[in-house]
Symmetry: C2
Subunit: 570 residues, 2 copies
């Protein structure tokens, strides 16, 4: 009864009285899975990895009762792309919006999906996402409203990279001295299925049958299409490390949506997609219908040692397991940044669906991403600050601390920019003055904020990487991309203020910059970070706060850590 | 300053004003270790497994500031054999006396070691102990007081069994349908070192160098002795599964202490030792001093597939790595229960150190241990009840719940005994009416309680196992052991009320019973359970409460789960 009242209140306060309630009960536990033919203890939801797809309609309320059956490990799940308006405590970011969910506990995430589009969910605690806790969210338009493009069928494909080591092993390496890098993934997965070449296992072990190429769990995923029909393919990348290219042999793809926003259509042979991004592409089944075709993902931006991920586009009525008669198509050259930059520049808002950005901003924050050694460990830093999370999540500390906030996290704001003149982004990162800190950026409510993400050379000579940055709680306008060092005096003149796309995740290209704008209009505390798990783990992120005084009463279920080890207020 | 005041208070209230404060700062994290030549991600304390030995004197206050750096996994550490008088919240049993310690948190265990003797510590959360978090506690007599036996030197040896799989893999097997048993351990460790035969690795894997027989981490442990001297060897078993025999080639051992109590001395060639037990034995270095000798542990009670664990007794000045010229001595026959029962019967209190037990008891609880299938999973049950732990630890619920205790755990007391007449302990466990429950036994304060542990056949034909049961918060008198079914009318007449040993851990032999008596004089909530990790995980335990109203104010640091997700009371 109480629950019902709460829901009704929720629906009323968001004004979405037409929304339905979609109620899920999920049990999260460890189970052996062989997504790439190799047995690995994976985190599953109701026995599955990827987890169930949430299919909802704009305005619906999603309720996920999540039971942690991981034994001794905690849990938190983020609903990536959902802005959590009015429900910042449901964002699922451990250390920022909630304490972790303890083993044995059931945590109820409740939120409204207020916009149509393609989203995802995944663990947001340490590097837990790598163990397999992820899935798709697909939100359709209200009844009677149509998409501005035509398709016959709607399908979701989630792309991932996959490691054979446990999250614990990978995290232990990253936090040890000497530092041990996680390395390249063993395989690429399409909709949870990949293929690892068992003959690469050359060292001895105790356990027989770990790799089994004939395991049906790793038979290639197939997507069946009816000749002549047009498919909306919702592509999501949830990779831990890899930037991907995706293509379908012999078929063009027309990009029409990204991160819940309509794109001015453009056609590609292959789509570059970064971790945390979603795209809808239209694909017409207009090729020779007597055969199947390859769907293929491959690694770009890092020198690939991981073989491409393969699946079948199955033309009905061919057998879905029939291998295409051709070899998989060639993939883009991994270190050619040009076509990737070009794709980024091609993504603009669709006519009639343009949300014009504010013409000016109130605050400009320039964030330099560098790799440094801090206390003997390799860390990523933002303006020389490597993020650590406090014991009491920011949302709780800011909302409820009666004492001095200094007791909870560093109250000195992190730097607004770096020393443009002094720092050479093309040289090896050698500055040794980076520090760890849990300081955050506090934004004035309803102000417009520009963020310029500046990429640089890593600690390796002639190396700069691609970082997909994801903002929680907001979409931002993508005002521009550039090569080299951002010039705060001249580059803003090149911003696209006419038809910039809105997104929640955006790549920063090697040695390049990306400029974003958003309005700080969502009360809460919000992570903004590189979506590469190991990079965020190594400190590559910042946190924003805005309108904390407008946040409602925090639910007790988000508590239990830091200052909130005590009795519930009655 | 606050801390100091607290300590002084603690010392004053326990009356042990002479005690020193021994302050430890421990960081617990995952690191690769190769205790048996095979690389495994292990839980270490300050980089070590076994962790540091706590060496203290009777009356000292131990303070361990324990920082959880396990990333996403919680933690709790139990101080096994320490009664925690006045500090029941420091017992370290997750779900019973505290909420688990979250990653990033520092928990301060504070307790007084009020009696001399040999104790241990280990993780007490899920099956976490298997990952390597364990160590020794050695408490010496006050200045001016002597042991009733002579020795020149005092040494600790901790015995363990070791698995190559992670705790997560083992726990996943035990809680999956179909049930997957953990199997026999890969090796036996003496003081954290063992040996695994790398050539047994016959299946392929990706990672080279996992097994390396020349790794110095797994070179045999050696204990150096000076010819002619007498050594007190403090032996501790912390095994996850195995009952052990321990022997030193060519040397007799005189048993003088167990679990902190002096034993009427008796001499053995090999000592049987069960998980959770400690023994002090006296060994004289009186053999040919020109060579070294084998120290050896082997598995008994279960058909051993694990090779014996070996170490060297190094006679100074021989080279400590010089292998003994002989083969390791033969070990006891694994399934011969007789000598093990005889050893149990031989252990009596030493003259002049006898604590006479109360002649009668106020309550007799008979606990039948059976294996059953509950909801499709194999479980261990006690009088048909398989223990599960509640979300709010008993200590917190009982002490602080203002509402109805029914909301916290099952208020129907578990059964005092089983149906003696109807249950055939020699038949396959086929009763399907076992249930899981978090009900506990509530004991009247200061009453005398008898516990009879009754063993039975497992679900396997002609199989009954050895279960070492450990009681928290108390020592008990061991009144007797018997074969077959305990007869409540006749067997009590055979109890040893003259010189029974006091212990905290005691074996229940196959198809046998063990009778204990203790006084419920320690306010708190106390686990009593089989010390085999997988058995306790599968429900083989009970919980006692006594004098809860006399427990002082609970520290906020034990909170954070169940009803205690809220703000600290000011």
């Amino acid at each position: 009864m109480k629950q019902l009242v709460f829901l009704l209140l929720l629906i009323c306060t968001t004004g979405l009285v037409q929304g339905r309630i979609r109620h899920y009960k999920w049990e999260v536990k460890y189970e052996y899975k062989s997504p790439d033919c190799t047995k690995k203890l994976s985190i599953t939801i109701n026995g599955r990895s990827p987890g169930p797809t949430i299919i909802a309609q704009q305005g619906d309320t999603i309720i996920v009762e999540l039971t942690n059956s991981l034994g001794t490990e905690n849990l938190a799940v983020h609903w990536h792309g959902i802005r959590q308006i009015g429900t910042p405590w449901s964002d699922g970011t451990e250390g920022i919006t909630q304490c972790p969910i303890l083993p044995g506990d059931t945590f109820t995430y409740r939120f409204v999906v207020d916009r149509p589009g393609t989203y995802m969910y995944h663990a947001h605690y340490g590097m837990q996402k790598l163990a397999g806790l992820y899935g798709s969210i697909r939100v359709s338009l209200p009844d009677g409203v149509s998409e501005p493009f035509f398709y016959d069928h709607d399908r979701s494909l989630i792309l991932n990279d996959w490691y054979h080591k446990s999250t614990y092993e990978m995290a232990a390496g990253l936090s040890s001295i000497p530092f041990v890098w996680v390395g390249e993934p063993q395989s690429l997965l399409i909709q949870g299925r990949g293929w690892f070449n068992c003959s690469l296992l050359t060292s001895p072990s105790l356990e027989p049958g770990v790799c089994n190429a004939t395991n049906p769990e790793c038979s290639p995923y197939f997507l069946t299409v009816i000749p002549g029909k047009t498919y909306r393919l919702r592509l999501t990348s949830i990779t831990s490390l890899s930037a991907l290219s995706f293509q379908i042999e012999g078929h063009n793809m027309t990009v029409v949506e990204t991160d819940g926003h309509y794109v001015k259509p453009f056609t590609v042979k292959n789509l570059f997609i970064y971790s945390g991004e979603t795209y809808s592409v239209l694909v017409k089944a207009d090729q020779d219908p007597t055969r199947n075709y390859w769907m293929e993902t491959s690694v770009v931006s890092r020198k690939p040692t991981t073989p491409p991920g393969l699946a079948y586009l199955n033309y009905y009525p061919n057998h879905p397991h029939r291998q295409p008669p051709t070899s998989p198509p060639a993939n883009p050259i991994w270190n050619d940044t040009e076509p990737r930059m070009n794709q980024s520049l091609a993504i603009k808002a669709r006519e009639d669906y343009i949300h014009p950005p504010p013409i000016t901003s109130d605050r400009v924050i320039v964030l330099l991403n560098t790799q440094n050694r801090v206390n003997g460990r390799v860390r990523w830093s933002v303006n020389n600050v490597s993020l650590t999370l406090p014991k009491t999540p920011y949302l709780i500390a800011l909302k409820e601390a009666r004492g001095d906030l200094h007791n909870f996290f560093d109250q000195n704001p992190p730097p607004e920019r770096y020393n443009f003149a002094a720092y050479d982004i093309f040289s090896n990162a050698t500055n040794h003055n980076a520090t760890t800190s849990d300081a955050i950026y506090r934004l004035k409510f309803n102000t417009t904020v520009d963020i310029i993400l500046q990429n640089a050379n890593t600690m390796t000579v002639n190396n700069s990487e691609t970082h997909p940055w994801h903002l929680h709680g907001h979409d931002f306008w993508v005002l521009g991309y550039g090569k080299g060092k951002f010039n705060i005096n001249t580059d803003p003149a090149r911003y696209n203020l006419v038809d910039p796309i809105m997104k929640n995740t955006v790549p920063v290209h090697p040695y390049g910059w990306t400029a974003l704008r958003f309005v700080a209009d969502n009360p809460g505390t919000w992570a903004f970070h590189c979506h590469i798990d190991s990079h965020f783990y190594m400190g590559m992120g910042v946190v924003f706060e805005e309108g904390i005084e407008m946040v409602g009463k925090l639910p007790s279920q988000i508590m239990g850590c830091g200052i909130t080890k005590g009795f519930r207020r009655l």
